[in-house]
Subunit: 134 residues, 2 copies
């Protein structure tokens, strides 16, 4: 199957298709990495209002289309979630890399929590990258 367009993705998730939403989602897909709201605005060439961007991001996160995380740098980062994954952050230089390292939360939810189901999780690793270690 070919990849869905931003508009199709929005529709599939029961969202009204507006140009801002398409633009934001498209920029997130292009970025291929976690990106903060302001950087997203830059990517959009200032064509979008920052408050609208924040509202749009909230919406996308609530639908599971976008992964929201934070790297201990006081701002939220957003990433289009094509396939689920997490990151390793270097506490020295801030470099981030993707990792497949993950946890099967859904399967373990009932054993380890009182929640019936878990919708999502945030998982980020911190360490010192090889460049900074030497």
């Amino acid at each position: 199957m070919k990849k869905a367009t931003p508009g199709e993705l929005l529709r599939q998730h029961g969202l009204k298709v507006t140009s801002t939403r398409k633009d934001v989602l498209d920029a997130l897909i292009m970025a291929r990495k976690p990106i903060a709201a302001e950087a997203l605005q830059d990517a959009l060439g200032k064509n979008a209002d920052i408050a609208t961007i924040y509202r749009t991001l909230q919406t996308l996160v609530s639908k599971g289309l976008v992964y929201q995380t934070n790297f201990r740098d006081r701002k939220a980062h957003y990433e289009y979630q094509e396939k689920h994954h997490h990151h390793v952050v270097c506490t020295e230089c801030g470099t981030r890399e993707e990792t497949k390292l993950c946890i099967d939360a859904k399967k373990l939810a009932r054993t380890f929590t009182n929640f019936r189901t878990l919708d999502s999780h945030v998982l980020e690793f911190f360490g010192v990258c090889n460049k900074c270690t030497t």
Copy 2:
């Protein structure tokens, strides 16, 4: 072995023992749950400056004495890390509960990342609690 006092903990981690640091660490130990900087100041009876509290928290986090996380509510939460654990957050009512559900990052680091070692990780689960589900 009996539990170390805040002062001893600080010394063990190579930190200067100051009264603010002892107070902050003590308040965190008493809290027994994640707490934001401002709430910590309240717990301290306003006796400590908020900027100092933030600096102290950074220090404690960098030494691994304190776990810093965020629950998608725009502020950082800090918790004394006596034994390692994480949380499940209800996206409806904000309730948080502890969970033992975790991942053995150190063991898996070399297989899944290019980092030699991982110092810490943030892991938080989001779902809808039983009260809000019904």
